[in-house]
């Protein structure tokens, strides 16, 4: 009987702090794609309601306690933080995505500035409100960008590209810090 040890996408990498910014890997958490079949919105709403969730509008997150339902596409959302509920097979395609993505937590004042080195989206707090979820590139990579609280981004990239994502954000953190030191 083999002993299968779970490993997170970045393994044992410790959090990185440069200046006021901090980058760390998020722990693996349950993540389920729920893709509603045409005409089954109500059936899904019925499943979500007891959980205190609603199917999110585009670019939005529905949240209740530990559970987040983040919009990820047309008639598609990712349920994060809790195990998937029972969903009738006729209502939605349910696919486990927990292992498909690497989660990065990027936080600190001005984190948006660093991220906007790579992301072609206006991520400033006043333009990218708490409760937003978008699909957007981080440089060449597909990503999901979530804003759950102020001064923090939760980033999801394909698991195999976690190191590239880390490296790129680290670069941005370094240059932002060097710029802040420039006048000194």
């Amino acid at each position: 009987m083999p002993e299968l040890i779970a490993k997170s996408p970045l393994g044992t990498r410790s959090p990185l702090t440069i200046g006021l910014l901090r980058l760390s890997e998020a722990p693996i958490m349950p993540m389920t794609s729920i893709a509603v079949f045409p005409g089954h919105d109500k059936a899904i709403a019925k499943v979500l309601k007891p959980m205190g969730l609603a199917f999110p509008a585009p670019n939005m997150i529905s949240q209740k306690g530990e559970a987040f339902l983040a919009w990820t596409g047309r008639d598609q959302a990712f349920l994060l933080g809790v195990a998937a509920p029972m969903i009738p097979a006729s209502a939605a395609a349910v696919t486990d995505q927990s292992d498909a993505w690497a989660g990065l937590i990027f936080e600190g004042p001005g984190a948006h500035d660093a991220l906007m080195r790579w992301v072609p989206i206006d991520l400033r707090p006043e333009r990218f409100a708490i409760g937003s979820a978008i699909r957007a590139p981080i440089y060449h990579m597909q990503a999901i960008i979530l804003r759950l609280t102020a001064n923090r981004f939760d980033l999801l990239v394909f698991r195999s590209m976690a190191r590239t994502a880390w490296h790129e954000i680290e670069l941005a953190m370094m240059t932002i810090e060097a710029r802040s030191q420039r006048s000194k």
């Binding site: 002993e3 080195r117 060449h140 190191r163």
Partner: protein, 972 residues
């Protein structure tokens, strides 16, 4: 020389720098040009073609003459404008395009033979003898041409790119830009104010203008303080907006660290992509010269630049200044010089009705007809009323008028229109949607006019943005009319330069007209007018006027060439920031990556993934030895390979089967649950798109696999087919490539290995699939094979991938097996005649690979109609065959095939080889290839020729399946 009490430089911060190896002193806030002028250095460069001595002409990024190399510790930067480069302690600058030195340049000989180097002379000569062009003429030309030099070393500097967004982008911070930014900012708009210079203020500072009753610099400081305090304003200095692109996107180059000594992690430059809902072009105007004979000597500069050097840098370029102008604006230079204690020898004003000037001689209706001085201006000749006057002077400030800096308005093909009154082109309103040109950039030249225009432009933008304008008081300022009488060129002996950068003279333009290169585009291309580093910023309009004159047309009839991005040259490194090295594309790592590297496997790139090539063992000297061993290991015992890179797509829904029937050429609705089927996917044009196996996991659930290379392509294709043709079907799909780590376990001992780690023995038919519990983890198992041996693929959630790989390999090794890499995988599949994208390379049909029968007759599918075209089937097409040859002479992929006995020529080519390997099992070289009518030619000996690698041999055509043709091992 430095003038006491003037300028905005920080005199408490002296800096030392080098120019051509000599040390000079300057102050923080100086540019290289201002610091050199302060040290009375006037010779700063050599011209492009004639290598004539040149000094600084301007005080801005439009500088055509004073281009230098900046020597860093690790590298050098060519063609840096001395007028833009700020000095810092230790700055090392070097003049360029001269040998052996700036003062004595051997190629100065070109100047002496200039009559033979007229416009386009090179099109008319150097043709004979033919072989001399590449060997003699062209190398000579190339060596003489060019300006600065690259070192040839990698640019290790740090660069970055970034995005920014705003309601309103204000380009330029002179009176117009500051007023616009202030108005918009107070009204709550989200504003970016960008200025090319290190300081805000533009010509308010350069001209030392009074604004609102106080010195301009005070007014600028007040506005700056207010803007800085506002949260909705972002001020970007040292930032040049370089291009206007579609839908409110602007490119901008920020000089982040170029004004400082190199520091760790501080980028040299940043290229910004600014998305603005509206923009105001407040970029001011550029002064232009007058083409009078010998107008290129060091000491001859723009009249406005004299004011910039004096008011910003506290520098007077000379002791005895003369002014030559056709408009009023240059008078300010004379006044400023006098006030600073510099002698103004005379003002030469070409207008007969030129106003007088207190305390200065004004030669009205006069022109400068020639100049003297070898390395610096010494004397000028002025013609007035038929008489020549000699004036001793070491600096001549010239003003031929002002051209609005409207370049950005041309970036979307807009053409400016001619304004006779201003003798200048002015922007076409709306040329760039959302961009308003205002102030001097729009032809308004008084300070009051600019302030008002900035305010008005902001109001227009606010109205578009649906923001209520806050009240802003317009400060008082001068409102003098702009009076000019156009003067483009002065007749006389000697060359009169238009384009100083490319050494284009009025004679060149006249010659181009004489030779019927009379369209403005022809003139530009024939003479190279406007194609130098300054892109004709100070010369294009005059050249156009000279051409108009030579062809007897008006300026509007003659037209204008257009300005293209970038407004100022932008380094490739800044535009390509992030792309260096591995940054060019994301790196994808397998869960087994570290385990493979631990075993010394060289990793190779495949579809952005890194995959192990082979796993060397002690004593193996070449990759072939390792590969052969791995192949035999799979054939004889068991091998383990990470195949997680294959694309995996989870397809669900009541219409999933129907959907697969539509996207695959063969049938999937008939596939039983728990079984796997090979599928062939076509493009709509009938050629093969991809292949792979698809498993039916449930009545309404399939798992499709794609090749590694085509995973993204297939996803896009499926999305298209679904959304375009059957969006209402009950089907949804999502990539699960990254969700599963999947390992091939192949070989006669595969089952033994698996059974050693499973609770229940494996019991799957060939092409079966089932859920699997392994080490307490829910996984999947598929009995499929890409090797021809009994094979399984085991999939577990990715987090367990590394552990499972290490465990599988360890177990395999206990029974004589082990891991195998891409090389062995390739040999195994060639032996079995399985195809990859080496075979299905986009020009191959199902017919070619012998799979025409896989296009089901019972249903429609993507590509079915396309595949029926006559050109896609038939014996004349090259069909896939096997090739083999015994002996140690190897087959090579890429070789062409010929009928034995035929001459080697394109027409005779019968096909080509796509994949080859040495088969350690069959002890011969095997190949897959395509051969005309190949299926009918099994057994024929054909000639294989590879000129690239000197291979010429005879090989045998055969069936492409070399190993286990009946699949007995697969089904074992």
């Amino acid at each position: 020389m430095r003038i006491g009490g003037k300028g905005l430089i920080d005199r408490t911060k002296p800096v030392k720098f080098l120019f051509d190896g000599r040390a000079y002193g300057g102050y923080r806030g100086d540019t290289l040009a201002s610091a050199l002028l302060a040290n009375d250095v006037r010779l700063m460069g050599r011209s492009f073609k004639y290598h004539r001595p040149r000094g600084v002409l301007t005080a801005g990024s439009e500088e055509p003459n004073a281009l230098v190399e900046i020597i860093g510790t690790k590298n050098q930067t060519p063609n840096v404008r001395a007028t833009v480069q700020e000095v810092f302690e230790g700055l090392n600058a070097r003049s360029q395009n001269r040998w052996p030195s700036l003062r004595f340049d051997a190629l100065g000989i070109n100047d002496a033979v200039s009559p033979f180097l007229s416009a386009g002379f090179y099109y008319k000569t150097f043709m004979w003898p033919r072989a001399f062009w590449e060997r003699i003429y062209e190398p000579l030309i190339r060596r003489a041409a060019g300006l600065g030099s690259l070192s040839g070393r990698h640019d290790e500097g740090l660069y970055e790119k970034a995005y920014a967004f705003c309601d309103l982008l204000v380009i330029g911070s002179g009176p117009t830009g500051l007023m616009a930014a202030l108005t918009a900012a107070r009204s709550g708009a989200d504003v970016i104010l960008a200025d090319e210079e290190a300081r805000l203020g533009g010509r308010v500072l350069a001209d030392d203008i009074m604004v609102g009753g106080k010195p301009g610099s005070d007014w600028v400081a007040e506005v700056k303080a207010e803007l800085t305090a506002l949260p909705n304003v972002r001020i970007m200095t040292r930032t040049t907006v370089t291009g206007a692109y579609d839908h409110g996107t602007y490119g901008a180059l920020e000089r982040v660290g170029l004004h400082l000594r190199a520091r760790a992690n501080l980028p040299r430059e940043c290229f910004w992509r600014i998305v603005a809902k509206r923009a105001i072009l407040a970029s001011g105007a550029l002064e232009r010269g007058i083409a009078f004979p010998m107008n290129d000597r060091p000491g001859i500069m723009m009249a406005g630049a004299l004011r910039s050097y004096l008011n910003i840098y506290g520098v007077a370029p000379a002791k005895r200044v003369t002014i030559f102008a056709n408009n009023d604006s240059a008078r300010a230079s004379a006044r400023a010089m006098i006030k600073a204690g510099v002698t103004v020898a005379a003002i030469i004003d070409s207008r007969a009705d030129a106003p007088m000037e207190d305390g200065t001689i004004v030669h009205a209706g006069a022109q400068v007809t020639t100049t003297r001085g070898r390395l610096a201006l010494r004397e000028i000749t002025v013609r007035k009323g038929g008489e020549d006057i000699l004036i001793e002077t070491d600096c001549l400030g010239v003003s031929g008028g002002w051209n609005p800096t409207l370049h950005l308005t041309c970036h979307m093909n807009g053409r400016p229109s001619w304004c006779e009154e201003r003798a200048a082109f002015v922007p076409q309103p709306g040329a760039v949607p959302g961009l308003f040109a205002a102030g001097a950039a729009n032809g308004t030249f008084s300070t009051h006019g600019c302030l008002a225009a900035g305010h008005a432009a902001a109001l227009a933008a606010l109205s578009d943005l649906e923001l209520r304008p806050a009240s802003v008081m317009l400060p008082e300022a001068e409102d003098a009319p702009y009076r000019i009488a156009a003067l483009w060129a002065v007749a006389g002996k000697g060359r009169a330069w238009l384009d100083l950068g490319n050494d284009v003279t009025t004679k060149d333009v006249a010659l181009s007209a004489q030779e019927n290169f009379s369209s403005v585009e022809h003139m530009k291309r024939y003479t190279t007018q406007g194609m130098a580093p300054d892109q004709g910023k100070s010369s294009n309009v005059a050249a156009l006027a000279v051409l108009a004159d030579a062809t007897g047309r008006s300026i509007p009839e003659t037209g204008t060439t257009t300005y293209r991005p970038p407004f100022v040259p932008v380094s490739i490194a800044a535009l390509g920031a992030g792309g260096r090295g591995t940054g060019f594309a994301p790196q994808r790592f397998l869960t087994s990556d570290q385990a493979s590297r631990d075993r010394g496997a060289p990793m190779i790139e495949a579809g952005l993934w890194y995959r192990p090539s082979y796993f060397p063992k002690p004593g193996e000297a070449t990759w072939r030895e390792s590969c052969d061993r791995e192949v035999m290991m799979v054939r004889e015992t068991v091998g383990v390979a990470d195949v997680s890179t294959l694309g995996k797509i989870d397809i669900q829904g009541a219409d999933a089967a129907r959907f697969l029937d539509f996207v695959y050429s063969n049938m999937f609705s008939t596939l039983p649950v728990g079984r796997v089927r090979y599928g062939l996917m076509l493009r709509e044009d009938g050629f093969v798109l991809d292949d792979g196996t698809t498993a039916r996991l449930g009545e309404q659930r399939y798992l499709m696999t794609t090749t590694t290379a085509a995973a993204g392509l297939v996803m896009r294709h499926l999305d298209f087919v679904h959304q375009a043709f059957c969006a209402d079907w009950q089907v949804r799909f999502i990539s699960v490539t990254e969700a599963w780590a999947q390992f091939a376990v192949a070989g006669p001992q595969a089952r033994v290995l698996l059974n050693s780690m499973l609770d229940e023995p494996v019991d799957l038919p060939f092409m079966g699939c089932a859920p699997l519990r392994i080490g307490g983890v829910e996984g999947r198992i598929f009995r499929i094979s890409f090797s021809g041996e009994e094979g399984y693929e085991v999939a577990v959630p990715t987090r367990y991938g590394e552990a499972l790989f290490r465990d599988l390999v360890a177990r395999a090794e206990t029974i004589g097996g082990g891991p195998y890499g891409m090389e062995a995988l390739n040999v195994l599949r060639i032996e079995k005649g399985f195809i990859t994208h080496a075979e299905i390379h986009g020009r191959v049909t199902a017919f070619d690979i012998g799979m025409n029968k896989m296009i089901s007759a019972k249903k429609d599918c993507i590509g079915k109609a396309g595949a029926l075209r006559p050109g896609l089937v038939g014996p004349e097409r090259e069909q896939m065959v096997g090739l083999r040859v015994s002996g140690d002479k190897g087959l090579v992929a890429g070789a062409h095939l010929f009928t034995h006995g035929d001459a080697i020529s394109r027409v005779a080519s019968q096909g080509y080889v796509t994949s080859v390997c040495w088969s350690p099992m069959l002890n011969q070289w095997l190949g897959l290839g395509f051969l005309k009518n190949g299926r009918a030619r099994h057994g024929e000996k054909v000639r294989l020729v590879d000129h690239m690698r000197d291979v010429d041999l005879i090989c045998e055509v055969c069936d492409p399946v070399f190993h286990d043709p009946n699949g007995e091992k697969l089904r074992a």
